[in-house]
Symmetry: C2
Subunit: 349 residues, 2 copies
């Protein structure tokens, strides 16, 4: 309507210049009054604030970004399909923690996928081009060059998960991860303490460090058992419920005497649970099941799942805190944080 392009509600949006004029001071004074308020007389302070409210002044954040070289927004990047991003509760939970912490610092959360090459290129554009002060990347597969590339552009990166190889030494790159090795070990040791001797593992994707770490935790315990840790006691999954069910079926086929299963996350544990029951196994009498994650909001589901809890919301907050500190240029106590896990015993073991 009205105008062809100026999208404005009609009148000119008030600028700092106009506020200053209205208050009878200069631009510089107005700016100081509205921000810190240092070196501003009480009189000027009040005049400026009154003028600002009278005019309905809102600082233009783009202009501020330009001069400060900072945008006040950070990206949360997930290298997954949009289907998984928006359906796996793990991501939602990390996002919840990240969101909470960012909001407390008045920082915008930009959500984006980076799975296809085009999406990855866009992330680079967005971070290097400044509207992103920093980036949190969760779900890293393989030796993904993206985090390193962004960090190299001078934009701080925090990875949700472990960092291996040369990326560990890039100063602009930090990480927050659960102690997957110890956590997995505690899960399997718990199964052993329950008298289980034939313990299978349904792993996460083995191109992800988290998948390999939890597998390794399992192996380190199971290889000490009489039967050892044969290949057939392990099935690679992808963290989905279907993969859990399929994994349980495969384990059962190879080892009819299976009496324990440790899955790399809770979603797969649920899948395994129904497959086991469908195969006529009672849980936990015949087969005990232990998962990993213990996301909030899943406590009520029956049967109560024995699982390794990682404080995912808090880890999300920690990622955001770390990133914000890096954006500020503050020194970090430790670049690579590892968070302890807790075993939560419920009904399935």
């Amino acid at each position: 309507m009205e105008d062809s392009r100026a999208a404005d509600g009609g009148r000119q949006r008030p600028t700092l210049e106009m506020v200053a004029a209205e208050a009878g001071v200069s631009r510089g004074t107005a700016s100081r009054a509205l921000n810190g308020g240092h070196n501003v007389s009480r009189r000027a302070m009040e005049a400026v604030q009154a003028a600002a409210t009278r005019l309905g002044y809102r600082p233009n954040l783009a202009a501020r970004s330009l001069v400060l070289g900072r945008s006040g927004s950070i990206g949360l990047v997930v290298s997954e399909s949009d289907e998984r991003l928006f359906s796996d509760p793990y991501f939602a939970t990390v996002a919840r923690g990240v969101h909470a912490e960012l909001m407390a610092h008045d920082v915008q959360l930009v959500l984006a996928l980076a799975q296809t090459p085009a999406e990855r290129e866009r992330m680079l554009r967005w971070s290097a081009g400044r509207p992103l002060d920093g980036v949190i990347i969760i779900s890293v597969h393989g030796a993904d060059p993206l985090p390193g590339a962004i960090a190299t552009e001078g934009v701080p990166v925090v990875i949700g998960g472990a960092v291996e190889g040369p990326d560990r030494d890039i100063p602009g790159l930090a990480s927050v991860d659960a102690d997957n090795l110890t956590g997995a070990r505690s899960a399997v040791e718990h199964l052993v303490s329950r008298g289980r001797t034939r313990i299978g593992h349904i792993s996460g994707p083995l191109d992800m460090v988290v998948g390999r770490d939890r597998l390794e935790g399992w192996r380190s315990v199971v290889s000490g058992l009489p039967g050892g840790a044969p290949q057939t006691l392990t099935v690679e999954g992808d963290f989905t419920e279907a993969a859990g069910a399929e994994g349980a079926r495969r384990l059962l086929a190879a080892h009819p005497d299976l009496d324990g299963v440790f899955t790399a996350n809770d979603v797969m544990a649920r899948g395994a649970l129904s497959a086991l029951q469908q195969a006529g196994r009672r849980v936990p009498q015949d087969v005990a099941v232990v998962g990993f994650d213990d996301l909030p909001g899943t406590e009520g589901i029956s049967p109560g799942l024995t699982t390794v809890r990682q404080p995912v919301i808090e880890m999300g907050r920690q990622m955001a805190r770390t990133l914000l500190a890096m954006v500020e240029g503050l020194p970090l106590a430790e670049r690579h944080t590892v968070v302890p896990t807790t075993l939560v015993v419920r009904e399935t073991s």
Copy 2:
């Protein structure tokens, strides 16, 4: 390390000026070459592009925003607690559609809550302050002044859901909603066609239009039945599984002869389902259940739920499309879109 504040990887980030110098042309020519490419000779074009790649040039999006008066990012605002935002699959699904459409247009998605007054004030700051070109608001309660306030600031708003009252006439405010009335009616008519005569309803929050609309759809059919539509055949829920279970228990207590339940969403239907089974009712033999939503990804869950499907992903895309059109200043065919629903009959009816 290195430097105290300049977060840069050390060296100066290349600017358009530097690219122009490298290519031996002026700033203006370089700009034109990198953007549309109109009125630029082939020679200059190639020289500039080569220089840009050689220098690793990334345009400063803050500067561009400042001059264009546009940031290339839009906000997705949810007026709910962060717990609900990150656990209710409905939001995730809308977000999925919005995300897909925005990415196709290279627009950033900024995710934010606006429940507390402080959060709502921040939204106003973010939208009026320009780094948000437009805002999509989902889950509006009561007569929320926020959408109107943002629209009045000159920032286009799209509401996911119905708009009532004076807000309908604000030109900068559009909406996308499912045809809840007709959808609810078709659900209840389906129950009637299955021979049910005692049909209860577990509604959404009645301070939301969607809650009232679906209730009204139920009432319009049920009031024509012999027993009429007494108050006791309705329980107000809040879209959570617990509310669904509690609602079913209350309905059963008031009407032991209950033979049908229509719930305002699928999550509550799941809750109702388990409460009904716990009360010894067989579904659908004793009591038939129909939900609302039919979100993708829930098809596999057993028993298959009869429900009213709304194309939520597509609706999310539609919201984004509408908003982007408004940002462009394009004329809208219709400001308030209503999307038809489909009844999907499965095992619970």
